[in-house]
Symmetry: C2
DNA sequence: TATTGTTATACTCTATAACTATA
DNA sequence: TATAGTTATAGAGTATAACAATA
């Protein structure tokens, strides 16, 4: 009845890329305002953490600062993100979403969510409950892992 | 108790990129033979379908032929994939894994699976069962969706 | 010295468009 | 005419290395 951890891990490895591919395709479609997944994630973080720094974004996404710099730079050009100098610590910048950025974020989220809703529509109420619970179990584990990898990288850089 | 489809969809959208990020990082690490996720998926498909054509790979992954061509071309250069001309239909090529390709695929799969196993180790037996069942429910839905999108693209191209 | 952001460079993934060879 | 593979081109994501400004 109960699955060994390796079997569950294998299934995560099989299914996650499939889901990611669908999410990616939907976000690039015109319906969802044509964001890439990393762009979407950056907007999401800034929306949840207005006034955050560039490095805060990079750390939360598990990416490097040049990577985030380029993405944010493009979003500033596109009028989605506002970049201000911090008066507290003049090395830092403060990132916030523009109204347009908020709008695009919401449209993308709604569009993608709608598509995912269609895809899972064959599930019964009980099956939806199972999926919901499962992802709720996985979320903190993978969040924590992202943090740990960040710290490991930090340690390696300094050694 | 039961979650509406939109809530479940939202959670898929929240959690999938987190998992994908961990999978990506693990595959790029030296432990797992340094493949990208698309490279891994190509090797996986050829391994399951020896003698397949380039377009078969592209369709199964939901990507275009130039994209797959470049990935496969690099893998042929790296000695992971063998590309032969088909004697039946001389437009086609036959793709197979070399022993080295099989070896790298297995090492990558094992390494990534091991990392995922570590990450989910806090789960109880019952929780593992929930995760396993949930992903088993999602897999066919997202597989089917990939196929549908492929056909939609086909239709649009011909119109 | 350490941190924050930035620039330079290089590589991979991805798509569209256009092409060749074959059916 | 249609299909399989290829090439050219362009844009986005990603990392490492090196740098300037600030703390």
């Amino acid at each position: 009845m109960s699955q060994p951890p390796e079997t569950v891990a294998r299934r995560i490895l099989d299914v996650t890329p499939l889901m990611m591919r669908v999410i990616h395709t939907e976000m690039r479609s015109q319906r969802a305002a044509d964001l890439t997944v990393p762009q979407f994630r950056v907007l999401l973080f800034i929306n949840r953490n207005p006034g955050c720094s560039l490095l805060a974004v990079a750390r939360s996404l598990g990416l490097t600062s040049p990577t985030i710099f380029k993405i944010v730079d493009g979003q500033v050009d596109d009028g989605l993100v506002r970049r201000q100098d911090s008066s507290q610590d003049r090395r830092k910048i403060l990132l916030t979403l523009t109204p347009r950025g908020q709008d695009i974020l919401q449209k993308t989220r709604e569009g993608t969510q709608l598509r995912l809703t269609e895809i899972i529509s064959p599930l019964s109420a009980r099956e939806r409950e199972v999926v919901f619970e499962a992802l709720g179990l996985l979320q903190p584990l993978f969040l924590q892992r992202n943090e740990q990898e960040k710290m490991i990288n930090h340690g390696e850089r300094e050694s």
